[in-house]
């Protein structure tokens, strides 16, 4: 392998039910930065059935070219079907970098591709950059990710094999502003399937309707932890979220206790969020929770325990009883809105 033959930044443009997922646009934003630093192109890989009309949207969000594989075999995500197509696209296009969303799809697909290509993959990156090697002046792709439950950060290189691949969790990178009418190339890709390897089929998909709105998209989150106690406590947070035009989220403790659904969970084993406002109510602030919300623009913490670690991550901390403060704040804000 001559690594000089490998150029351009590829993005796996994840879609579900024909809808391009937010994480695809976030990755395009980052891919654009990386490609500009390298003087290379951004290429999106769009796989699905009846999805080709959405290729232009990927161009408007930062892609220079979109490879579209549009056929019935790719309607639902299935590991082998998608692996074969992405593998073929990579073998033909020889990208230097490939990015995937760290979703249940991306984290299923990317390692399969890495193993097929015998190349490196770095999971759940929080920072991707092009650095300059001091000794040689060469440009180098660097992926930084948390390890040991978020206690340690590690910067990973993939020096001798290509492509260099990374996954990034939804909500971590920022989308570019859509550039309507941006010009790019749309290329139809005809996959060659080895159907003898298709061993898995979908019998049923039950959508979880509780998660109609995604906390990762909310601008304002009012989030509750152990200190909220119960469902009634969450009703208080919901009332505040309603006045603020936001959504309610939860720490892991309340999900494990069965009070909140997993799709509202923020943190290492939940979602990564970066809203304009994150209000942490009765959340102590374990490092696994902080990992999911510390990039929020403004963080307010309300907690009875003045030694709670959440205060070290908060821009504004209030030592006090959320069960009193939250309803009072809700009433006060209602008046503010009426003004």
């Amino acid at each position: 392998m001559d690594i000089k033959d490998y150029k351009n930044v590829y993005v796996f443009a994840e879609q579900r039910g024909g809808m391009i997922q937010s994480v695809a646009y976030e990755l395009l934003g980052k891919a654009r930065d990386l490609a500009d630093a390298l003087g290379e192109k951004v290429v999106a890989m769009l796989l699905g059935h009846n999805v080709k009309d959405q290729a232009q949207s990927l161009i408007e969000m930062g892609a220079d070219e979109v490879l579209v594989a549009d056929c019935p075999e790719l309607k639902d995500y299935l590991t082998e079907q998608y692996s074969q197509v992405v593998y073929q696209m990579i073998c033909e296009g020889k990208p230097s970098i490939v990015l995937y969303g760290a979703t249940t799809i991306g984290r299923d697909l990317a390692p399969r591709i890495a193993s097929r290509l015998k190349t490196g993959l770095t999971a759940d990156c929080t920072k991707l950059e092009i650095g300059i090697v001091e000794e040689t002046g060469e440009k180098q792709f660097r992926s930084t990710r948390p390890a040991f439950g978020g206690n340690l950060m590690a910067t990973i290189l993939c020096p001798n094999t290509r492509p260099q691949m990374s996954t990034v969790r939804p909500g971590v990178m920022q989308k570019r502003v859509r550039e309507a009418g941006r010009k790019g190339i749309i290329t139809m890709f005809a996959p060659k399937f080895d159907t003898s390897k298709f061993k898995v089929k979908v019998i049923e998909t039950k959508m979880n309707c509780k998660c109609a709105d995604d906390i990762a998209d909310a601008k304002i989150l009012v989030s509750g932890g152990r200190g909220v106690h119960d469902k009634e406590g969450f009703n208080k947070l919901q009332a505040l979220a309603d006045v603020l035009g936001g959504m309610v989220a939860s720490s892991r403790a309340m999900v494990d206790a069965g009070i909140m659904d997993h799709c509202f969970q923020v943190g290492q084993t939940g979602k990564t969020v970066r809203p304009n406002l994150y209000m942490a109510c009765g959340i102590s602030g374990a490092i696994q929770h902080l990992a999911g919300m510390e990039e929020s623009d403004f963080i307010i913490a309300i907690n009875k325990d003045k030694y709670a670690p959440i205060f070290s991550a908060a821009d504004l901390g209030i030592v006090g009883d959320l069960h009193k403060i939250v309803p009072m704040l809700t009433e006060r804000l209602k008046k503010e809105v009426e003004k």
């Binding site: 399969r112 999971a123 039950k206 998660c211 209030i318």
Partner: protein, 260 residues
């Protein structure tokens, strides 16, 4: 049925703390445990053993101390335990680790391979799918339930962000399992006594079906360039005031930041 379960010994990351003065990880006194998702996978295997009858083999790659989690697995009810331990495995990233595990599994008879979704020290979720690819087997990740059909196929439920899917897998496969779906059984007293009378097989690289150049550090395409403790941002203001004052402070801040 023969089931192989891949498990890993990990530091209990919820117990790790940062030394506030030196700004380094405090590893001393942090207990080593069987990785939670792997323990969930082991529970699934043992449930299948109870239901269908099966021979369950656990495999781990690690230093000699990893013997401990294999004894724990014996006490939970597994039939055979293999420890892959060799200096040649050292420094392996996920690709080299999955290659070594696959190299061991190739020498065994199996109908099903189970692994945890991810380990709490690395959180990559890569070893299971990478191993499945080395073995040329289909995989299902994020598994919350699995049953075996009479024809040898598996009916598997997996949990996505927005849905629960039921899948049918034809024949042998790799499943990666979520701990939250399987409450692991306790070790039995008789099991604990027995666990120390049973043999843990220790395998070096020469026992595996592998190209030794693809093991350990040499076989790892990724390199850690640098690692550092996470920098916490400068703390903001903390107020310990009456509820009325607290509400005013919050409202003023929200106005200042144009959040209302």
């Amino acid at each position: 049925m023969n089931i192989i379960v891949c498990i890993k010994q990990v530091p209990d990351t919820t117990e790790i703390k940062i030394d506030p003065v030196k700004n380094t990880l405090i590893r001393e006194g942090v207990p080593s445990i069987m990785n939670p998702d792997d323990k969930g996978g082991l529970e699934l295997a043992l449930q299948m053993k109870d239901k269908y009858g099966a021979n369950v083999t656990v495999i781990t790659m690690g230093p000699p101390q990893a013997d401990l989690i294999l004894r724990e697995a014996f006490a939970m009810g597994v039939d055979r335990a293999i420890l892959l331990s060799d200096r040649k495995f050292a420094g392996a990233d996920t690709l080299a680790t999955s290659y070594a595990l696959a190299g061991a599994i190739k020498t065994l008879d199996y109908d099903l391979i189970i692994a945890g979704r991810q380990a709490i020290d690395g959180d990559t979720a890569q070893v299971g799918p990478e191993m499945a690819e080395h073995l040329g087997l289909p995989q299902v990740s994020y598994v919350i339930d699995a049953e075996r059909e009479k024809n040898g196929n598996f009916i598997v439920k997996k949990e996505n962000e927005d849905s629960v899917q039921t899948l049918e897998v034809e024949g042998k496969c790799v499943l990666t399992v979520l701990a939250s779906a399987f409450e692991a059984r306790y070790m039995t007293v008789a099991g604990i006594v027995d666990a120390y009378n049973k043999e843990v097989e220790v395998w070096g690289a020469d026992k595996l079906d592998v190209d030794e150049n693809k093991l350990g550090l040499k076989g790892s395409p990724t390199k850690v360039w640098q690692s550092f403790p996470k920098q916490l941002k400068a703390p903001g203001e903390v107020f310990e005031v009456s509820e009325e004052e607290a509400v005013e402070i919050i409202v003023n801040k929200l106005k200042e930041k144009h959040l209302i």
